[in-house]
């Protein structure tokens, strides 16, 4: 038996680590990965609340988040490849200009 609040605190920890990684990481792929970590933390919250209120909708929400995350990963990584072709660097500080 585990209190739901434990799950919520765990999700909060993961989300905060994701935020910190998002701000500190300089590699664009690593930045992207920290976004995925944050999404996962939110998913955990959804499933914990689905269990709390015995509602399927929380899990449905996670399902949609996964679908969107998959689409986002495909497009995002394609953008990263395109950026790398143009700049030949992955450091976010060197790709902050809007034009080539």
């Amino acid at each position: 038996m585990v209190p739901i609040s434990y799950y919520l605190v765990l999700a909060a920890i993961l989300f905060s680590i994701g935020v910190a990684a998002f701000l500190i990481k300089r590699n664009i792929i690593a930045v992207f990965m920290s976004i995925e970590l944050m999404l996962n933390a939110v998913n955990l919250t959804f499933i914990a609340f689905a269990h709390e209120w015995h509602q399927v909708s929380g899990q449905i929400f996670v399902f949609f988040v996964m679908v969107v995350a998959a689409a986002e990963a495909a497009v995002g990584l394609a953008i990263i490849i395109a950026v790398f072709r143009a700049r030949s660097t992955l450091n976010v500080d060197q790709i902050d200009l809007m034009k080539l």
């Binding site: 585990v2 765990l10 680590i17 935020v19 990965m33 395109a82």
Partner: protein, 164 residues
């Protein structure tokens, strides 16, 4: 039993996430993220979301993260260098994240009386339950996401192709 499993896999999650934060090499970060996602799948199973646990492993660990490692290998991304701009991030990043963590934890702990307990096997959503809601009540959003994925495929192909 439930508590022990929660602590083991929760600790794995946190350790993986911290490793993601601290590792310099993107492939190590990607691997620690895979550890986080797989342990989260176990936590989903503990919370009775069996289809989502499987989907987490198949979609996140098996597809999305494979794409990440694929791109890391393809672009041969090396150790990340810390540039000038990241000093700001250190100043703002760690305190901001710490404040966020403190706030969220404070709220969850102070309001813990209003949350219930999770028991193993008390509330299990089978794949049939999930699909019944998904294909009856939420058919339109489901179809819209399929269109979204189609657009994402087209966009990815258009973005990543080489121009001749």
């Amino acid at each position: 039993m439930h508590l022990a499993l929660f602590f083991i896999f929760g600790a794995l999650c946190v350790a993986g996430a911290l490793n993601l934060l601290l590792q310099r090499h993107p492939i190590n970060s990607a691997l620690s993220l895979i550890v986080v996602m797989s342990s989260l799948a176990v936590l989903y199973l503990l919370l009775g979301a069996e289809f989502l646990a499987a989907a987490q492993v198949i979609v996140y660990s098996g597809a999305i993260m494979v794409l990440f490692t694929f791109v890391i290998m393809l672009l041969n991304a090396g150790k990340e260098e810390r540039t000038h701009g990241s000093k700001m991030a250190y100043v703002a990043g760690f305190p901001g994240a710490a404040i966020l963590l403190g706030l969220l934890t404070f709220i969850f702990v102070s309001r813990r009386g209003s949350f219930g307990q999770a028991r193993l096997g008390e509330y299990v959503v089978t794949t049939a339950d999930l699909s019944r809601v998904l294909f009856k009540d939420l058919l339109l959003p489901f179809e819209v996401t399929s269109v979204l994925i189609l657009i994402a495929i087209l966009g990815a192909v258009a973005l990543a192709r080489k121009e001749h």
